[in-house]
Symmetry: C3
């Protein structure tokens, strides 16, 4: 219903969906990085490429906002949503970059668990922003947002467990510092998924 107000070429929903899809790819690549014994480098490079792709999509979306007179949802809400979505991918890239930079191998098992949460979380974000196309699907989007919130709680519990394990097993303070930073970035990525869900929820509340 809203899309009819928009010229075909600048559907903001397309930007959201493309961005969300690339971010799911990023989370999957992180899961591959965490699951395989091979070198980290190719995965980290691929994640960096995907992160660049989401940057370009974000930029195009903001450009389109500047050019578009009438938007399907509040202009500032579009701007905030795409900006928050971008944070998730940035943090996935930051975590993978640190694992590469610090040559952290073998990888602690919680990295894989975080990656699984992030694959699920980014898939839910994709579903939620797809839902925005038709705000009649209100209840389904709300349920998706609640599930993202639940995942963030899982991420928090995992973070605590990861820290406890780290301090128990690792006696080298330098290694503790390095791993702690990686876990902090992974936990922040799950937090940012929740921020996206909150932003989507805010849009629902305004327009639903």
């Amino acid at each position: 219903m809203f899309r009819s107000l928009l010229p075909r070429e600048t559907s903001f929903f397309d930007f959201f969906e493309r961005h969300a899809r690339v971010t799911v790819d990023g989370a999957r690549e992180l899961l591959a990085l965490a699951s395989e014994d091979g070198p980290v480098e190719p995965h980290a490079r691929r994640i960096k490429e995907l992160e660049h792709e989401t940057d370009v999509i974000t930029h195009q979306c903001v450009e389109a906002l500047h050019r578009t007179f009438i938007t399907p949802i509040d202009r500032n809400d579009i701007h905030r949503l795409i900006t928050r979505m971008d944070d998730v991918m940035d943090l996935i890239d930051a975590a993978s970059d640190r694992i590469r930079l610090y040559e952290l191998a073998p990888k602690r098992s919680e990295v894989r668990e975080f990656a699984e949460i992030l694959v699920r979380g980014t898939q839910l974000v994709e579903k939620a922003v797809h839902g925005l196309r038709d705000l009649k699907g209100d209840e389904a989007i709300k349920a998706t947002c609640i599930e993202i919130n639940r995942l963030e709680n899982d991420g928090d519990a995992l973070f605590r467990r990861a820290l406890a394990g780290l301090f128990r097993d690792e006696k080298d303070p330098i290694m503790v510092i390095k791993w702690k930073e990686v876990f902090e970035e992974l936990e922040a990525a799950t937090d940012r998924c929740e921020d996206v869900a909150n932003q989507v929820e805010g849009i629902l509340i305004e327009h639903g």
Copy 2:
């Protein structure tokens, strides 16, 4: 005056006040944890329960927002305010959880000082959101927000002092890492009180 616009059963001010009151209880429990020599566990468990309670209130508030057609203040402002309020309690819980997890005893004296700031800060937040019921009380709310801002400066100064003391007294890097994390979370909790004050101030500016 605004309340008359609302059906009795969904007063958003009730949600704000209930949330704020439980958060004050959380800060007081943290003060008990920091002041007593006994085991941390019962206090940390109680704080976790209170954190769950605020989660439920937040969820109910967002649910009510979805169901309510006319709101006393901007819908998005309500959503943002309750979300920011929730961050304070999350961080109090995170700090208490780390003290428990890392078995940090004896407790460094600055934990108690932080807890005192947080009791005061959450009480002021309670006062500020109560003030929103009647936006005529403009000047009083503003004064409360300014006091919260001042408390945040105290928190910042305390954080610097806590770090200086930590690096002076503690030679074990692992212990430095653990305590530094606790202090960072406590300082972030006082920061989030300021975010709530800013949000309240934004509402005043819009509706005052």
Copy 3:
């Protein structure tokens, strides 16, 4: 065009510009601190004074918002912009304060590189908020915001390089913790410049 709506004495653009100018001075003082071999103390004290000045300007701006009926741009946007601007100066002060507190000497070379990015970034912020006076200059402000975004990428790359160098050269974990904190604050300051650019961009999107 918008200014004519405002009583002379409360031009919000004046607050933005004054705040931005003092923050540029803060970044320059940080560059001096990082470039000279002399004691850190006088520079850190000067930065603290400038940080206090921006606090006062922020407070005056919020006060004026409370008193002013009609504003040239959305009231909440003004509030958010000045609040975000304030974060940049807070973080410059936090970084300089830690260098002083931890007696970090000789200074690692990346501090100077960060300070150079921050001088450039705060100058761009000054230019962007000046541009808000005349929203017709749309294209120029947008270009400035894009340049600030690019600088943030530089800051991110520098942060990664700074961490890699730190873990390579520094074997004392306590020193790693201290320097890592300084670099995190400097990187956060460049992040906050980007937040200001995003906020300016949001205002353009709304009013441009």
